[in-house]
Amino acid sequence: MSFPLRIERRLRQPWWLSAAVPAGSLVVAFCVIALVLLATHHPVGHTFTRLLDSAFGSRRSLESTFVSGTPLAFTGLCAAVAFRMNLFNIGGEGQLYAGAVTGAGAALVLGGVPGPVSIAAMILAGAAGGALFALIPGLLRAFFSTNEIIVSLMLNYVAALVLDYLIFDSLSYWRDTSTPDARVFPQGKMLPAAATWPGLHVGLVVPLGFLVAIAIATIVHVLYARTRFGFEVRVIGDSPRAAAYAGMRTRRKILAVMALSGAIAGVGGASQDGDFRHVLDPKGLTQAGYGYTGIVIAALARYNPVAVCAIAFLLGGLQNAGYTLQGADFPSGLVGVMQGLILFCVLGAELLVRYRVRVDRPSHRPGPAAPVEADAS
C-alpha cells in the first residue's frame, strides 16, 4: 500500500512561484499562529498589531530592528557566499567571534587614533580574523577532502570557548583588569571612544554596520554576476565535473570562497564591537546564535546577497518584536513558537517552488505473488 501523494521535481519553475509561495506561506503561518493564540486565550488581532508595531511601527522599533538585523545580514552573507559554490560553511558563528576578537584587539591596540582610522582598522582586522578562522575548514576541505560542514560547525564551539577563555579564564589583553571590582566580576576592556562606529542619521539611526553589509552585498553581487572569479564559482557550484573539464582550479576557489565567507562574518564581529557592544562581550555574542540564523536567511534569500540584507532586516524585526511582546501576560515560549512557525512555514514552502505534489489515481495494482511450486523439479 503506497501513499497516494507523490512529490515530483518541477521541470520548469514558473517565475511567479518564487513570489507567490513565500507570500502564501506567510499567510498559512499567521493562520496557524492565530489558532495557537486562540487556544492559549490571547487576543489574536491585538497580538498581531503589537507584533508589527514593535518590529516596524515606530522610529524606535525600527532602530531596534536594525540592531537585531545587522549581525544577521553579515552571517547571512557569509553563508550565501559559500553556499553559492555548494561549499557549506556552517561556521559563520565562530568566524563572527573570531572577527569580534581581532576587531576589538585592533581598536584597543590603536587606542586614541582618529575615528576613521580606528574603524577601518577594525573592519580589516575583523575580516582577517574571520578569514583565517574560515581557512581552517577551507584548507582541510581543499587538500584532504574533509567535510567542511562538520569541521566548520565544530570550530564554532572552539571559538565560543576561546571567547570565554579570553574574558573569564585568563588575564588576556581583552580583559579589563584595571580595578579590583573588574578582577572579581570579569569583563572586557571598554573600547576607546574612537572605536565607536557612527550611525547614519536619517530620521532614525541606521548603524554603520548595516551600511557596510549592504556595501559588501553589492560588491559580492557584482563579483558573482560579472567577474571571472564569480563565473568560476557558479560553474563549480553547479557542476564540479564541468568545472574540471573547463580547466578551472577548484582547490584555489575553495580557499578563496571560504576566506571571503569568513571575512564577511568577521566584519560582522567587528561591527558588534564597534556598533553596539563597545567591549568584547562573550555572553552577549554567544547567546544570540547569529551564525545559525544567518544560514536560514541565506536559504530564504536563495543565496542572493542583496536579498540577504532585506531578509536579515525582516527577521531582525521578528526577533526584536519577540523581545517586546514577551512579558507577564505573554510567555516568551509563545514568542518562540510564533517565530518558529513563521520560519517553519516559509522554509517548508520552499519545497513547493522546486517540487510539485501530485495525487495518484488509484489504478491496477499487482496482486501478491503466487508462491512458486519450488519442488516442481
Binding site: R228, F229, Y245, V372
Partner: protein
C-alpha cells in the same frame, strides 16, 4: 503465456530517449538474455521492470495481467527481484540478516525474528541451488562472488518468480561464472523466469534460451540462442540493417600528426590499468575512430588525452609539442578540444545559461573580459553567433542549458569547442541519444572540422557512425588496441567481432 511482457515501453529523460517503444517478452522457465551495448537501454528497461522508473508510455503485463508499478516495492510484491551489478547489501549484517532485510512479507515484518529459522532456510536454499554461503557470516567477510550468492539467496527467499541479473559475470572469475550459470538453469527449470543482462556474446550463448537484442533504445529482435552465432549477435548488437553512407575515400589530405600517443597507460577509477600501452597517431585533417564496447578503457583514454586523468606512463604530444598530463587547462591551451561523453554534467554546467556555457572555456580570453570583469555583451554576442551558426533551437542565450534538448545541447558543446579552434578534437559518443536530424548535423560539423585541418579522435560504439565518419578505425579491448582497420574496406562484422573480444 509469457511471464513478463512489455509492450511499447517508452521512457524519456531530458534530452535522451532511453527506451523508444521497446517490446520484450520472457516465458516461464526460460533464461532470457537482454543483450545490447552500454546505452542501448538495458538498464532503463530493467529499472522499469523493477518499479524504479515509470514508463512514459507502454504496458507491462505479468502472467497476462496488466500491472502498474508505483514503487520498487510493487514490483517486489509481484515477484520480481533484481540482482544489481553493485550489490545492495549491508556489510556489517550477517548473510541471514541481509536476506531478511528486504523481506517485508512474513518473517521480515515481525517484531521479534527467529534467526535460527531463517538461517536454516538460507542454508537449505543454498544447498538446493548450489549457492551455499554460511548464513552467519558477515557480508564484509565474503568474497565478491559469495556476496552475489547472497543477492541470489535474497531473491530465492522471497520466492521471486522473475529474477533479473544485471551483468552478473562482470565481477566473477570464469569458474564462478560457470557455477552461476548452472544455478540459473536450476532456477529456470522450476518454472521461474531469469532475465540475464549482458553485453558479452559467449555468455549469452552459454546460458540463455532466447535473447532479445536492444540497440539505441529500441528492440532489434528476439532470437533463440540455438539459431544464432556470436557473429550474427554481434552484427545485431552493433547494427546492420541500414548500410549507412561511408566515406569512399579519404576526404582530406592528412597533414602532420596533430596528436601522438606513445605507450600511454592510465589507471581506472577503481584502480587497475584501464588504458594499457596505447600508441596512436592522429594526423591533422584525419578522423580516427576508437571502437570498443563501453568499459574497455576508451573513456579513460579520452580523459587522459584531454587532461582530466593523469597518465600513469607514456607521453602525449599535440602538434609535436609535449603535453603535460593531468591538467585540463594545459590541454585546452595546447589546442585539445573535447566533446565529453556526459554532455549534460561534464560538457555544460546545466543550470547556467547557454551564453555562460558558450564561454565555459573562453571566459579567460581577453575578448570576453576586461580585466577581471566579464563583458556580458560580448559573451551574449558570441552565444548568439553560435546559436545562429550551428542552428541551435533555443528561446535565447539566457535559457538554462538543461532546458535544451540533447541535440541542441550537443550543438552548443560542439560549437563552443570549434570556436576555441582546436588542433585536436576528442569526441566521445557525440551522437548518443540524439535523433536522426541532430546526428546528421553533428556528423556534418565533425567532417567540416576535419576539412579545416583538425585531427579528430572519435570514440564510440556506434559502428554506423564510425563507418560513416572515420578514415581509420582502431579497436580497443580491455585497454589495449587490438586491431587497426581502414574504414573504407572494413566490414561491420570484422569490427564488431574485434570489439567483442573475438579474433
Amino acid at each position: 503465456m509469457p511471464a513478463v511482457s512489455l509492450r511499447g515501453i517508452t521512457k524519456r529523460f531530458p534530452g535522451v530517449v532511453a527506451n523508444d517503444g521497446v517490446d520484450f517478452e520472457a516465458a516461464e522457465g526460460e533464461v532470457h538474455a537482454l543483450l545490447g551495448e552500454n546505452g542501448a537501454g538495458k538498464s532503463t528497461l530493467s529499472s522499469i521492470l523493477t518499479g524504479l522508473y515509470r514508463p512514459d508510455e507502454g504496458e507491462i503485463r505479468l502472467y497476462d495481467r496488466p500491472v502498474e508499478f508505483h514503487a520498487p516495492r510493487d514490483a517486489l510484491d509481484a515477484g520480481i527481484c533484481m540482482v544489481h551489478q553493485h550489490f545492495r547489501l549491508v556489510p556489517t549484517f550477517t548473510v541471514a540478516e541481509n536476506v531478511l532485510l528486504g523481506d517485508h512479507r512474513a518473517e521480515g515484518r515481525r517484531f521479534l525474528v527467529n534467526p535460527r529459522r531463517i538461517e536454516s532456510r538460507v542454508a537449505e536454499l543454498g544447498r538446493r541451488y548450489d549457492v551455499a554461503v554460511d548464513p552467519r557470516a558477515r557480508v564484509w567477510q565474503l568474497s565478491i562472488g559469495e556476496q552475489q550468492r547472497v543477492e541470489i539467496l535474497k531473491a530465492l527467499y522471497r520466492e521471486a518468480r522473475i529474477l533479473i541479473l544485471d551483468e552478473p559475470t562482470a565481477v566473477l572469475t570464469p569458474q564462478e561464472a560457470d557455477s552461476l550459470f548452472a544455478t540459473l538453469r536450476t532456477i529456470a527449470a522450476e518454472g521461474r523466469t531469469v532475465v540475464f543482462i549482458s553485453h558479452k556474446l559467449h555468455e549469452v550463448q552459454a546460458v540463455a534460451d532466447r535473447v532479445t537484442v536492444l540497440r539505441g533504445g529500441r528492440t532489434v529482435g528476439t532470437l533463440s540462442t540455438a539459431e544464432t552465432s556470436p557473429r550474427s549477435l554481434a552484427a545485431l548488437m552493433v547494427g546492420h540493417e541500414v548500410e549507412a553512407a561511408r566515406r569512399s575515400e579519404r576526404a582530406n589530405e592528412v597533414g602532420l600528426p596533430a596528436l601522438e600517443l606513445d605507450d600511454v597507460w592510465a589507471k581506472g577509477d577503481r584502480g587497475g590499468d584501464a588504458v594499457r600501452g596505447v600508441t596512436l597517431q592522429v594526423g591533422s585533417g584525419e578522423i580516427v575512430a576508437i571502437a570498443g564496447v563501453a568499459g574497455n578503457g576508451q573513456r579513460e583514454l579520452a580523459e587522459t588525452v584531454t587532461g582530466m586523468r593523469p597518465p600513469a606512463r607514456g607521453t602525449l604530444r599535440v602538434a609535436g609539442r609535449a603535453l603535460r598530463g593531468g591538467d585540463p587547462r594545459a590541454a585546452i591551451r595546447a589546442g585539445v578540444g573535447h566533446v565529453p561523453e556526459d554532455r549534460l554534467h561534464t560538457g555544460v554546467a546545466p543550470s547556467l545559461s547557454v551564453a555562460s556555457n558558450v564561454v565555459l572555456k573562453a571566459y579567460r580570453d581577453t575578448h570576453v573580459r576586461r580585466g577581471p570583469l566579464l563583458r556580458l555583451g560580448a559573451i551574449r554576442e558570441r552565444a548568439e553567433g553560435l546559436i545562429h551558426r550551428y542552428d541551435v533551437k533555443t528561446a535565447g542565450p539566457n535559457v538554462p542549458a538543461r532546458q535544451l534538448s540533447g541535440g541542441n545541447l550537443q550543438k552548443v558543446v560542439l560549437g563552443r569547442e570549434f570556436l576555441g579552434e582546436p588542433l585536436v578534437l576528442v569526441a566521445a559518443s557525440p551522437t548518443r541519444g540524439l535523433d536522426v536530424a541532430a546526428t546528421d548535423a553533428v556528423h556534418r560539423y565533425l567532417r567540416e572540422g576535419a576539412a579545416e585541418g583538425m585531427g579528430i579522435l572519435l570514440i564510440g560504439e556506434d559502428l554506423d557512425e564510425i563507418l560513416a565518419l572515420a578514415d581509420r578505425i582502431v579497436v580497443i579491448y580491455e585497454g589495449r588496441l587490438v586491431g587497426e582497420l581502414d574504414a573504407s574496406t572494413a566490414t561491420r562484422e570484422e569490427v564488431g567481432l574485434l570489439m567483442a573480444g573475438g579474433t
